[in-house]
Amino acid sequence: MLLFLRRRFLFFFFTYLLSSLTIFFLLRVLPGDPARVIAGGREATEDQIAEIRAELGLNASLPEQYVNWLGNFLGGQWGDTIAFRGANNYDLIIERSVNSARLAAVALLMSVPLSLALGVIAGLFENKLPDILISLLTLSVVSLPEFVTGLFLINIVSLRWGRGELAQSLGWWFPASSAVPANASFGEMLPALWLPAVAATLTLLAYISRLTRAGVIEELKRDYVRTAALKGIPWRAVIWRHVLRNALLPTITVIAISISWLISGLVVIEYVFGFPGLGSLLIAAIERRDLLLAQAIAMVTVTVILFANLAADVAYALLNPRVELA
């Protein structure tokens, strides 16, 4: 157990280091000059470039730059925002991250129970009607690109159906845009959240439910399920105690991995809905050539993902008696 955790933590640091190196070198090693990109690409003058170069410390050696950069990142010194005058990268990213986290949390709350349920049902009814319906659903509607479902939700559900009498009388709000103020509270934001969250839910649904289904089918074939059934305990108990317990354990890891998915999906969804999150900030940053901001956003994302994976592995290890051997 301890051995496993130690190994896992070492992996975490190693992976973190490598990821940050990747992000760092994306901006340094690629053909071309980052200072020129930031200064405005082809139109920039040599003076502007030289100024930015000095400002970013680009004249130091590469390893030196990397160490400085990583140290600054870990210390919360993420520099000034170029894309939005007067803002500071750290504050901006934190504010937007909170918004994205709210959106992600709502999406996870909706999608995880739903996709686990769908996966379990499909698995228990392998190749029967419920399974076929669920698999058609997850292969088709649910796996469309986020912008297609997002636009559908905005233009059809919200703009067309949301104006209908039924929706009006229910009093439920259908925002065509989720462009709320970035510093709104959770309560204020909630009405704007749920439609993008539905879009994000769909992103995860196919992935989690399919893996859950596979896990359930695999467990059902195990010898110990037969042993349990032949003990004469009710089938319900066999499913709960023996099948689901073992089948759902790995979904902890699956959910952690799906966070990386979710983040990709959120970039598109926030853009479509105009939601003030980290994803729309990233697009703005890249459009406005603010590479430092983009870099910081990438680092934040990677940090979140790696921590989620680490937490999932640790939780898995704690819950699974077999890991001790690893």
Binding site: L3, D223, Y224, L230, G232, R241, P321, R322
Partner: protein, 731 residues
């Protein structure tokens, strides 16, 4: 008789089908069985005979694509099981009918501790919970002789050894005092020593409780040792049913006869005669022949056998047989079998055409050695007397230690963990043209030793010489010359051939690579090799998935012989094969050795098989050799106490044979934490005292180069063991 005795289980005309590609295939046809309380009936058959299907059908637990055809009868204690609802079946499973599966490791839920898992069964059976349940559980754990039951209950399944896991499943089945117990190969996959212990346990527990048992096995020895009546299955049909003594003494069905005589008995040797074997393979269930299912492989088959399916005839002496010619065959002078089917003949026909058969003993080069010394000698002080002149392979102090990653505590304390010493100081001399058998339980290091010699594993220490040349450590560093001289036949025929290469390609490659044949030469030689392993030329263009297990192994043998090696390492080459196919492969190996003069290092957990094929046997325990001697000496006193236990544990396929078994505990000490002194002292039934724990035992030489590594002098061992020689009784 049948009317007066209360029967526990009555099965009549049971036909079970499986759905494959939308067609229902009858996997078991017309099955009959009657079981009285307290009786143990054995179901014996090879793979595909339908025995596990029957087990599940009797439990009414067929998988979704299986069904019992209507018209059959399945009655348990007077009740018709086929009409029971699921809820009623569940009540029966809870209390009265229990199942013990094969592979206990997989049959226990890995994420629940043993205690709660067993308690679950108890709760379903008797609705008892809490302390009363715990006490009952402890009592049953004690009954199945689980050491330290309280701690076992606190463990997870993966923390127990295979033998202990199987004891747990037996405990789980017995905890409700069932009336009927169905055991599906419960000892398959366990070591002989563990198997012997479990069989003893089952025998004792059944006698106490009066449970009716259906015991399923492919192993005739196990059946002979345990069962009262035996049902022989073949391709889904009963071939013969009889009381165990009658069956083994006077089998009525040609299949039974073939099966019994294809198992080597302990002490039987290739020098005496080739093994009997059954030609061919079982029919595919999708294409069953119209007549007798066995006709195609039967040496006595005549026209009627191929045209008309024989009925299951009830004989006077409580026997039944499904054969048209059983009466003729049971006469004092039975008709002679058709020559095509005399397996030994076909084996010899395949090999004897080009070269005369050479038996090891009269062979010029080995005759001199024969008189002098065994092919194996140990290092150290014994070296001088044991120089063999035709040494093919010589290993000195071979070692293999697998490193273990450090734990956190060791990391902090800056100590290194002790490595797993899989092979620890083994000396071997192998002579040309001879067979060295290597036996030992799983975990003894025998496979690692073989892999060190072939170079698939890098040795941590020691020297290896082939014909006086130094042999490099890893196979990648070895010269073509060395590579072509040592080849290997692997255990699992399923995996030893590349599924995407045809038989021809598999055999050609070593010819081109190691013998530098031109493609045309290689093609011709490949066909010649196929002929020598008794496969027809059309097999050249088949792919592995079109071959049976035995055929695959023949191709693997042909491939190993392609480079004309001096040494072939055979790692359990027949253990994955069915009994009737096993003997043909053993005969083939013996015949090819005569022809090529190659030496074998033959590894097996099956002592009878090793005894049959080997000239010399080495017994391995926890990375060391403990006894070395000529093959027949392994089965005679004096033994090393470990060999003695191994020999006594052999399930002999003869119900008259009985042994005072020397039972060993299930637990093989960890190779990471080896016992001090004599490695065997923790389990040794003949331990003499502190010296065994303190000092490494010396090699004690006996007659004709027989060596035993034990503190007990040989004379004393002989006198201790002479009373319990299992083989003398069998003879």
């Amino acid at each position: 008789m049948a009317i007066t005795t209360r029967s526990l289980l009555d099965v009549e005309r049971l036909t079970i089908s499986y759905e494959v590609n939308k067609r229902w295939i009858p996997a078991v046809r017309d099955f009959h069985l009657r079981l009285r309380p307290g009786q143990i009936v054995g179901l014996v058959g090879e793979s595909g005979s339908g025995k596990s299907t029957i087990a599940l059908a009797l439990m009414r637990y067929l998988s979704g694509n299986g069904r019992v055809e209507s018209g059959g009868l399945l009655r348990f204690a007077g009740e018709d099981l086929l009409r029971k609802s699921d809820a009623e079946m569940r009540r029966l499973w809870a209390k009265r009918v229990k199942f013990v599966p094969q592979n206990a490791g997989a049959a226990l839920n890995p994420s629940i501790k043993i205690g709660p898992q067993v308690a679950e069964a108890l709760k379903a059976a008797d609705a008892i919970d809490g302390d009363a349940a715990y006490d009952t559980m402890m009592r049953v754990f004690h009954d199945v002789r689980l050491a330290d039951p309280e701690r076992v209950a606190e463990r997870y399944p993966h923390e127990l050894s295979g033998g202990m896991q199987q004891r747990v499943t037996i405990a789980m089945a017995l905890i409700s005092n069932p009336e009927l117990l169905i055991m599906d190969e419960p000892t398959t996959g366990l070591d002989v020593t563990t198997e012997a212990a479990i069989l003893d346990l089952v025998r004792g527990l059944i006698a106490e409780r009066g449970t009716g048992v259906i015991y399923i096995s492919h192993n005739l020895g196990v059946i002979a040792q345990l069962c009262e009546r035996v049902v022989v299955l073949y391709a889904g049909e009963i071939m013969e049913e009889a009381p165990v003594l009658d069956l083994f003494q006077a089998p009525r069905h040609p299949y039974t006869l073939g099966l019994i005589s294809s198992v080597p008995k302990p002490g039987q040797s290739k020098r005496a005669a080739p093994l009997q074997s059954i030609a061919g393979n079982p029919p595919a269930l999708t294409r069953l022949p119209g007549g007798c299912v066995f006709a195609e492989r039967c040496a006595w088959a005549i026209d009627i056998c191929r045209d008309k399916r024989p009925p299951l005839e009830q004989l006077a002496d409580k026997r039944a047989v499904r054969c048209h010619r059983w009466e003729e065959l049971s006469q004092p002078h039975p008709p002679t079998p058709s020559p095509r089917h005399q397996m030994p003949a076909i084996e010899i026909a395949g090999r004897g055409t080009t070269k005369p058969i050479r038996r090891p003993a009269p062979d010029a080069k080995s005759a001199t050695e024969q008189a002098k010394s065994p092919s194996i000698a140990m290092g150290g002080d014994l070296e001088g007397g044991w120089q063999a002149d035709e040494t093919l392979l010589r290993a000195d102090n071979l070692n293999k230690a697998f490193p273990v990653p450090r734990s956190l505590r060791e990391l902090l304390a800056r100590t290194a963990p002790s490595p797993i010493r899989a092979v620890d100081g083994v000396d071997l001399h192998l002579r040309a043209g001879r067979t060295l058998g290597l036996v030992g339980e799983s975990g003894s290091g025998k496979t690692t030793l073989a892999r060190l010699i072939i170079g698939l594993e890098e040795r941590s220490g020691g020297k290896l010489e082939l014909l006086g040349m130094d042999v490099r450590n890893h196979v990648r560093d070895r010269s073509q010359d060395v590579l072509s001289k040592i080849q290997m036949v692997f255990q699992n025929p399923q995996n030893s051939l590349n599924p995407y290469l045809s038989v021809r390609q598999a055999i050609r490659r070593p010819l081109i690579k190691l013998r530098r044949f031109s493609p045309a030469e290689a093609d011709a030689e490949a066909l010649a090799l196929l002929a020598r392993v008794n496969l027809r030329p059309e097999y050249a263009d088949r792919y592995p998935d079109e071959l049976s297990g035995g055929e695959k192994q023949r191709v693997a043998i042909a491939r190993a012989f392609a480079s004309d090696p001096d040494l072939i390492i055979c790692d359990e080459p027949v253990s994955a094969l069915d009994v009737s196919v096993q003997s043909a492969v053993l005969n083939l190996l013996a015949a090819l050795q005569d022809e090529h003069g190659s030496a074998y290092l033959f590894i097996s957990h099956n002592l009878s098989v090793v005894g049959y094929l080997a000239d010399t046997i080495a017994v391995m325990y926890l990375g060391q050799l403990v006894e070395v001697g000529e093959a027949r000496e392994l089965f005679q006193a004096p033994y090393h106490p470990y060999s003695e236990a191994l020999v006594s544990a052999i399930p002999v396929a003869d119900p008259r044979h009985s042994t005072a078994r020397i039972l060993l505990s299930d637990d093989l000490p960890s190779a990471q934490n080896l016992p001090s002194g004599c490695r065997f002292h923790t389990r040794c039934p003949r331990k003499i005292g502190e010296i065994c724990e303190r000092e490494e035992p010396p090699w004690r030489p006996g007659d004709r180069g027989h060596l035993i590594r034990c503190h007990i002098p040989l004379e004393e061992l002989t006198s201790l063991q002479s009373g319990s020689n299992p083989l003398e009784k069998a003879d």
